[in-house]
C-alpha cells in the first residue's frame, strides 16, 4: 500500500506543473498550487486589487473564493481518484462565513472524503491565515465523465510529447 501511495505521489508531483498553471483561468486569477498529495490539495489566491468585489470595503469578490475552492476541490478529487482521470464537477456548495481580510491572500485546503469508481466527494475550507477561522467552506461532488476522460487522455499524450496543452486554447 505504501508503494502505491508513493507511486501516486510521484505521479502527482510529475503532473503538478500542469494542475494549476495549465488552467488559463487559474493563471489569470493568479492562483498558485501549494501542494497536492493523494486526496488533498492546497491552493493560494494572492490578494489583488483587480479582484476586489466592493471598492468601499476592498474585500475580494466572492467569485474569487468560488473559483479558488472549485479548482482546489477538483484537484483533491483528481488526486483522490488516483490521478488518472480528469473529473467534471457535478455540484459545488459554498458557505461564506465572513469576508476575507483586505490585503490578505486566501488559501483553499480541499480534502477528498471518499473516491470510488466514478465519483469523488470533497470538503474544503478557504481561510486568510488561520484555518480555524475560515472565510468559506465548500462541499463538492465530482464524476469521471466521458468528456473529461478523453481530455485526460489528450493531456497525458501532450505531456508525454513535451508539448504544452495550453497552446491548444482557442484565441488564448
Amino acid at each position: 500500500m505504501a508503494g502505491m501511495a508513493d507511486d501516486l505521489q510521484s505521479l502527482l508531483d510529475s503532473l503538478a506543473p500542469l494542475l494549476v498553471d495549465g488552467s488559463p483561468h487559474a493563471v489569470a486569477m493568479g492562483f498558485r498550487l501549494e501542494s497536492v498529495t493523494p486526496g488533498q490539495a492546497v491552493m493560494r489566491a494572492p490578494y489583488r486589487d483587480d479582484l476586489i468585489g466592493d471598492p468601499e470595503t476592498r474585500v475580494l469578490h466572492g467569485g474569487v473564493v468560488t473559483a479558488l475552492l472549485d479548482h482546489a476541490c477538483g484537484l483533491a478529487a483528481f488526486a483522490g481518484l488516483g490521478g488518472k482521470d480528469a473529473t467534471a464537477t457535478l455540484d459545488l456548495r459554498l458557505d461564506y462565513m465572513r469576508p476575507a481580510e483586505p490585503g490578505r491572500d486566501v488559501v483553499a485546503e480541499a480534502r477528498c472524503i471518499r473516491a470510488s469508481g466514478l465519483f469523488a466527494f470533497v470538503n474544503a475550507i478557504a481561510h486568510d491565515g488561520d484555518p480555524s477561522d475560515p472565510v468559506a467552506t465548500a462541499a463538492a461532488a465530482f464524476m469521471v465523465s466521458r468528456v473529461s476522460q478523453e481530455a485526460a487522455k489528450r493531456a497525458r499524450k501532450a505531456f508525454s510529447e513535451g508539448t504544452s496543452p495550453i497552446s491548444q486554447v482557442p484565441n488564448a
Binding site: P24, P55, H61, G63, T89, P165, P170, N171
Partner: protein
C-alpha cells in the same frame, strides 16, 4: 436600471471578468464575453467552473440591484452550483430570478446558458444578504 447596476459595474472584479448586462424592459440578461482567460481546462476545452459560478453570483447581485434600491452590494451567504454541461469556449448568458426577498435576506436562482436557453450549462441558487436603501 443602468443606474441601479452602477455599483456592480464599478466593482474591479466584475470589470476584470468583463461582465456586461443587456436590459430589455423587466428582463435583465448578464453576458460573460468569451476570452481565453476564462478557460479552465484547455483540453476539453471548457470554461472554468469557478468562473461560471462567479458569473452567476454576479448575475444574482444584478437581479437584486435591479429589483430594489440597495444601499450596498448584496453579499452571498451561501450558494449551490449545479454544473449541467461543459461550458464551451464562447460567450455565456445568465438570468436571475428572485425566489423570495425578505428585509435582509433574498433567495435567488440563476441559470446560465450558451447556445440555447433551454440547454443550461449551469444553475445556481443561493441566499444573499441585502441592505435596502433607507433602512438601518
Amino acid at each position: 436600471m443602468t443606474d441601479a447596476l452602477k455599483p456592480l459595474l464599478s466593482s474591479p472584479y466584475v470589470k476584470t471578468m468583463g461582465v456586461r448586462f443587456d436590459d430589455h424592459g423587466d428582463e435583465l440578461t448578464a453576458i460573460l464575453p468569451y476570452t481565453g482567460d476564462l478557460v479552465g481546462n484547455p483540453l476539453i476545452p471548457a470554461l472554468h467552473g469557478g468562473a461560471i459560478g462567479a458569473f452567476m453570483e454576479i448575475t444574482a447581485s444584478a437581479a437584486l440591484l435591479a429589483g430594489t434600491p440597495l444601499a450596498a452590494l448584496p453579499k452571498p451567504i451561501d450558494v449551490s452550483v449545479d454544473y449541467l454541461r461543459p461550458a464551451r469556449p464562447q460567450d455565456v448568458y445568465a438570468r436571475g430570478i428572485i425566489t423570495r426577498q425578505g428585509a435582509r435576506v433574498a433567495n435567488v436562482r440563476v441559470e446560465a446558458w450558451q447556445d440555447r436557453r433551454g440547454a443550461p450549462v449551469a444553475a445556481l441558487h443561493g441566499h444573499f444578504l441585502i441592505k435596502p436603501e433607507g433602512e438601518g
